[in-house]
Subunit: 440 residues, 2 copies
């Protein structure tokens, strides 16, 4: 098995080694043929002979040769391996690639997003695309690590659910043997069940929503990072935990993904020592004062409002993230706890980052009677969610939790324009790997 | 927020603290009322006054009081906290529980599995049930950790897929907007796509199979632990990696779950220094010699054969795990690599543990033409799996991988009789949280 990676070569000058990877590109100088060889860790210039002429981009090869210093004037300061090159002795072609639909060796791919997704398996070969998903890996891993450090228990929440109770409309139906079942839109009910036994829990899931519109911020399948915690004294402790978690994620991305951030030319968003916290109505007031746009009676923030309040946080509070709390009861799920000091408004909160919602959370109702009353008021039938109700029948502490969208965080951190760029295999109304319009 | 857990108390003798948790049980001695208080970390005896009379099992309470040593003769050696008790000063009832359907404070629950699952949210309160899932958490976490140490990249595989190509029959259909889509039975295609770019990858998923039968070993929704690795020189390297991984998992369970294993009275299965590796035909020969049962012409092992070959490995090789390799081409998926030295048999392997399959793996075909030929021979149409085919068009190294079932490992490690015990919310033909027979 391959033992040596391109990123290992910098201190191997003079060694004879074997490298395996993909032909990134080729420059034919008659008797000498240069290729850039790429693997998952980097790219190196290889000096080959006439046998290299037959190579084409993305061919898989193994090459024996010697690692050399480049002559001073040929050093390429833009490449990590720019001070070295590889003198080939023996070329083995492992598999040939077909002609490429676009040039994958350009520093920036110049194809549209739909084309990039049509050829996802190829575009994933590009170092900048790989960098996005290396950051995403860290985001998810750091979420887990942050909460494990606080003794949270990780559990696996199911995909198939007996009933949709949270909102209803945007749910996918599954033919489940002779019955009908649904795909989970959120692990909400299950994390509440779990918190009633394990006290502090988290779970990483794909959640599935039949989003009936095509926007740059929504997907039908997203990765959600969910946490729930019991025995809280105040709802602000949930915000504190969410704040700790997102800061931990930022620190880990900063630590683990230096080269990816550099490659992508990205600096992390600013987080203030304490992320500013304002109520929805305060946000609306600020927006009104700054723009004259009067959405003060609206129950929620519009996309333009989200962008404006983030601009305000950036300018006035030196933070690219902001908590907005106290959404009206009518706009939040039935299980959301109402603020006793501010009736008709809930102990709920979002984190907005760079103009987009990254997280949503709240304290939950932990009294069964009240919960059933709230469900009934909204005509929500939860009789198939008996396990959820049991959690409240058999001893539920005061609790709450939050849910981050992994793709939203990655999009925000990297300043991507479309959430599809932050999803390996984005699903939406128009695409499940292939464009649905091409189906029979 | 709750700061102190019951497991923290052993060295807190003399301290005045507040504990929060659930009333595990109550012993009323007129003026003195004893309760066992339980939280997610343990149980402690609490000495209360008459106010404790009104408490019922699973009520949620917070109690201020003093941690005390128990008198010598009242020490309970069976409890971790058996040397201490808690003298209550002030009781706060947080929420009342309804009457329980069964006694949750028994050391062993004496209800049938269906009842236990009907009341899953309650049975999860039981320390032994919690212990199962704490072990499962470690299994999954250790899988990730083992492969991260070998520089594998973690990715998230999708749930919704455009086409079922692996076998077909046992797939769930989803109404996907105006189209039909399916639920992923395995991340196979996606991990092959990923390995073509990232070289070494792993992924933890819920995979979904419409298993049309009810057995003690199958679920409709399982947690799969998948890995895939490129640039292999030999298929045996894949087995080596799988062996390293399962050993790592065992070591971590042994390290992190000592108290759970003790509570459940379990010793880990034996693993030989090198897990024995035999071909299917050798296994069949051994079984024939040991039992007279002649399945030497069968293309696979029957459940009774799996148990027998595990008994043999235990007795003759001092190992509760065994690799069985070289399943016939016809019994393995179309993408499986055939052994050039043993035609009609594949470079495929399973790990059987304590009589059940825990893992399956193989080297894969990495040549597009051959892959298409094999698909065609089986009448498998993969035209909707264009991204999968692209992976081979644009440079695929020699590669292979494996897939563990998390519940199977937990079942095996803990000696559980039914896989449903190893699933938090088991789904099968008869149940999705509630029994489907109770639905309209």
């Amino acid at each position: 098995m391959k033992k040596l990676y391109i990123s290992d070569l910098v201190d191997k000058i003079g060694s004879e080694v074997e490298l395996c990877g993909w032909v990134h590109n080729k420059r034919d100088h008659k008797k000498i043929v240069f290729i850039d060889l790429r693997d998952s860790t980097g790219i190196i210039q290889v000096i080959g002979d006439e046998k290299f002429k037959e190579l084409n981009p993305e061919d898989v090869v193994c090459i024996k040769g010697v690692v050399k210093s480049r002559p001073e004037k040929l050093i390429n300061p833009k490449m990590k391996t720019g001070k070295i090159e590889f003198e080939a002795k023996k070329l083995k072609i492992i598999s040939h690639a077909e002609a490429l639909p676009f040039d994958i060796s350009k520093e920036n791919l110049d194809v549209t997003l739909p084309i990039l997704l049509d050829y996802r398996s190829l575009s994933l070969h590009h170092p900048k695309i790989q960098a996005i998903f290396k950051v995403e890996e860290t985001v998810i891993d750091a979420f887990r690590e942050a909460l494990k450090k606080k003794s949270f228990f990780e559990f696996q929440s199911p995909v198939i659910i007996p009933q949709t109770a949270e909102g209803g409309a945007d749910v996918f139906e599954v033919k489940y043997f002779d019955h009908q079942a649904y795909l989970s839109q959120s692990p909400q009910f299950y994390k509440q069940i779990m918190v009633g036994a394990f006290e502090k829990v988290f779970t990483v899931n794909k959640t599935l929503r039949a989003e009936p519109s095509v926007t740059t911020r929504h997907l039908a399948e997203v990765i959600t990072l969910d946490a729930e915690m019991a025995f809280i004294d105040s709802w602000t402790e949930i915000m504190d935990m969410a704040e700790y978690t997102i800061k931990y994620i930022f620190e880990e991305v900063d630590k683990r993904n230096k080269s990816e951030l550099e490659l992508l030319g990205v600096t992390l968003p600013k987080i203030a020592d304490k992320i500013p916290r304002i109520k929805l109505r305060e946000a609306q007031e600020i927006i009104f004062k700054r723009t004259g746009r009067d959405n003060r009676k609206e129950p929620d923030l519009q996309p333009e409002d989200e962008r404006e309040i983030c601009r305000w946080a950036n300018e006035e509070k030196k933070s690219d993230l902001i908590f907005v709390s106290h959404y009206p009861t009518s706009k939040r799920p039935f299980y959301t706890f109402e603020d006793p000091d501010d009736p008709n408004y809930t102990l709920s909160f979002d984190i907005l980052g760079r103009g987009v919602e990254w997280m949503t959370g709240s304290q939950r109702i932990n009294d069964l009677k009240l919960l059933l009353k709230k469900a009934k008021e909204r005509n929500i039938n939860i009789h198939k969610s008996e396990l959820y109700l049991q959690a409240f029948r058999y001893g539920m502490p005061p609790e709450g939790g939050f849910s981050f969208g992994a793709e939203r965080i990655v999009m925000g951190i990297l300043g991507l324009q479309n959430i599809r760029e932050a999803s390996l295999f984005p699903r939406d109304m128009e695409r499940v790997d292939i464009r649905l319009s091409t189906l029979d």
